[in-house]
């Protein structure tokens, strides 16, 4: 990329300066760039701003999708407070945050460090790249397809998991993984860990590439073992990546929809319902549009709060890093 930059730059400088033109346009130069924003502004207004405002507005009304909405003030939100289905779905969101943010980040960190620091150095980067690709593979799979694959593996009769258990003599462990209300949520969580793990891993491995190898060499000379190097070099050095990944994954966990739709449809008996599936059914199956809008508005507020907190933590960490605290090894 730098090569291109220099070449273009060199050609530009070689030409004759056209000073009249420069003077003529300099007055408006800054703001006429605004024109380039015009298509984007129109498109965003139509597809994001207007629908979002409509949705928020509708959440204060009683509307079934036909006729004109009737203003009902905070009635929908008050009803939400007493709706156990609503509270359950948000409690399940916390489980999803564990399965899609906490566990993949923690496991991803250890895996990334092991692949980078151990496999990459001892067996060559080829091995590390192939293993990384294996872990990343589920990430490119459409969530609907991942759902099909897993609902078939977890099927009670003839499902692969139950067959494996029988084959290794653990037949008594067989379960109706997605059909038993006590287990279904954990099964969905397991699938989501499988889906999500590759993302933190790849980001962390990329982050590790900018860590100065001398840090590791120095630590090794001082006799620090793998675990101490992991704790005192790897984790602090890629802290920015950890914050970004945690924020992104938490938001993704709060939005999870496709997996629940395909795996369990929120069932059995609401055991795996999540806010986004709850709002979907309220919109399109119960056609209580006002109520569904209230659910999605609450979800939006929570997601924006998480994003802001994530952003804040991230910038604070960056500021702390800029301060001259010296290198800790």
């Amino acid at each position: 990329m730098t090569v291109t930059v220099e070449r273009t730059g060199g050609r530009g400088r070689g030409r004759v300066v056209n000073s009249t033109r420069r003077q003529g346009s300099s007055g408006h130069r800054r703001d006429s760039y605004t024109l380039f924003l015009l298509p984007g502004a129109v498109a965003f207004l139509a597809v994001i701003v207007v629908p979002f405002l409509m949705n928020t507005g509708v959440s204060f009304t009683d509307w079934r999708g036909v006729g004109s909405p009737e203003w009902s003030g905070l009635a929908n939100y008050r009803a939400l407070l007493d709706d156990s289905e609503f509270w359950t779905s948000f409690r399940h969101s916390l489980f999803m945050v564990v399965a899609m943010a906490a566990v993949p980040t923690a496991v991803g960190l250890v895996l990334a460090a092991a692949l980078f620091d151990y496999v990459g150095k001892r067996f060559g980067s080829r091995w590390a790249a192939v293993l990384r690709a294996c872990f990343y593979l589920p990430q490119v799979l459409p969530i609907a397809v991942a759902g099909i694959v897993w609902s078939w593996i977890l099927a009670p009769d003839n499902g692969s998991l139950n067959e494996v258990l029988k084959a290794v003599g653990l037949g008594s462990w067989q379960q109706d993984w997605l059909g038993d209300p006590d287990i279904a949520l954990y099964s969905v969580m397991g699938v989501m860990v499988w889906v999500q793990l590759g993302f933190p891993l790849v980001v962390f491995m990329a982050g590790l590439q900018r860590v100065d190898p001398q840090l590791y060499e120095a630590a090794e000379l001082d006799g620090a073992g793998w675990w101490r190097r992991f704790r005192h070099i790897t984790v602090p050095q890629i802290r920015p990546e950890i914050y970004v990944v945690l924020t992104w994954c938490t938001i993704a966990a709060l939005k999870v929809f496709g997996a629940v739709y395909v795996l369990t449809k929120g069932g059995p008996g609401g055991a795996t319902n999540v806010p986004s599936y709850f709002s979907f059914t309220t919109f399109f199956e119960k056609t209580q549009v006002g109520y569904g809008a209230a659910v999605s508005t609450v979800l939006t507020v929570i997601i924006l709060a998480v994003s802001l907190i994530g952003l804040k933590v991230q910038t604070r960490a960056e500021d702390a890093e800029d301060a001259p605290t010296g290198v800790r090894t």
Binding site: Y33, P51, A133, P142, V145, W152, L304, S307
Partner: protein, 274 residues
């Protein structure tokens, strides 16, 4: 083997873990080529006795899978191209033009990017019905062009913010107008980043589920994801059909993965930390 185990315990553990990640793909591939009789006789874990492709063929014809592929390619391809153009225009104004109030404009795009689709889906559904665009591929293309461009604008703005200004100044002095600077200098120089965005937008749109599920109800317009998801949701498929469906859903993803592996892993690094 035992000496290997003793010498490389970490490597062996990692290989086993990686295998666990890939096993579902292998099971699907193995079972998609079994006949129903063989499947019910031997269960899902046996190796196939022969190559039975009728299951896949039946499924393909039954759901008109070719049409679904065309729809997915059309929608994802259009979205990727249009969203990159829109992102470039926005980012040119913000990152290079440094328009007034750009921090707020950028904050707006970041917010738009975070917004859950649940908060847009009903009005988008309602408005597209009013506009006569409901159940058309065009409606999905428009919506996702904007949604993907929110991320693209955010990413490209910071990339273009570091664009060497001397080059732009030099071209301006040469008499190039802003439009020419954009297409002849900024876009060619930023091509690697734009390529990453293009690939990402394509795959993200390919994998989208909620909005296409709501917007595309007729069989002729559905994408691969939606068609397979709906079939699964209806619980109408037997085991062999499910396998065929899973295999046909997995294959395009595998193709993208193999084709774009480098772009994908490099692109994530670009996206995650500015």
């Amino acid at each position: 083997m035992t000496t290997a185990l003793r010498r490389y315990p970490v490597l062996i553990a990692l290989v086993l873990a990686a295998l666990f990640m890939v096993v579902p793909f292998l099971i699907v591939a193995v079972n998609a080529v079994k006949s129903p009789a063989e499947y019910s006789a031997n269960g899902p874990l046996s190796l196939p006795e022969g190559l039975y492709l009728d299951g896949i063929k039946d499924f393909w014809e039954r759901v008109d899978f070719g049409q679904k592929l065309v729809n997915s390619v059309l929608i994802s391809g259009s979205v990727a191209a249009l969203a990159v153009v829109l992102s470039v225009l926005n980012a040119y104004a913000i990152g290079i033009g440094r328009i007034r109030g750009r921090t707020w404009v950028l904050a707006f795009f970041v917010l738009a990017n975070m917004l859950p689709q649940e908060a847009l889906v009903y009005p988008v559904y309602y408005l597209s019905k009013e506009a006569g665009l409901y159940d058309t591929r065009l409606s999905v293309i428009i919506v996702f062009t904007v949604i993907q461009a929110a991320f693209g604008t955010y990413l490209l703005s910071s990339v273009l913010g570091q664009f060497p200004r001397e080059i732009i100044e030099a071209a301006r002095i040469d008499g190039a107008n802003k439009w020419q600077v954009l297409w002849r200098i900024v876009v060619p120089v930023s091509r690697p980043t734009l390529g990453v965005l293009l690939v990402f937008f394509f795959i993200w749109t390919w994998n989208e589920f909620l909005l296409p599920l709501v917007m595309l109800i007729s069989n002729d317009n559905q994408t691969v994801s939606v068609a397979l998801g709906v079939l699964q949701g209806q619980r109408l498929m037997d085991a062999t059909m499910t396998n065929a469906a899973a295999l046909l859903g997995v294959l395009p993803a595998l193709v993208f993965f193999l084709a774009f592996q480098r772009t994908l892993t490099r692109g994530i690094a670009v996206g995650a930390v500015k």
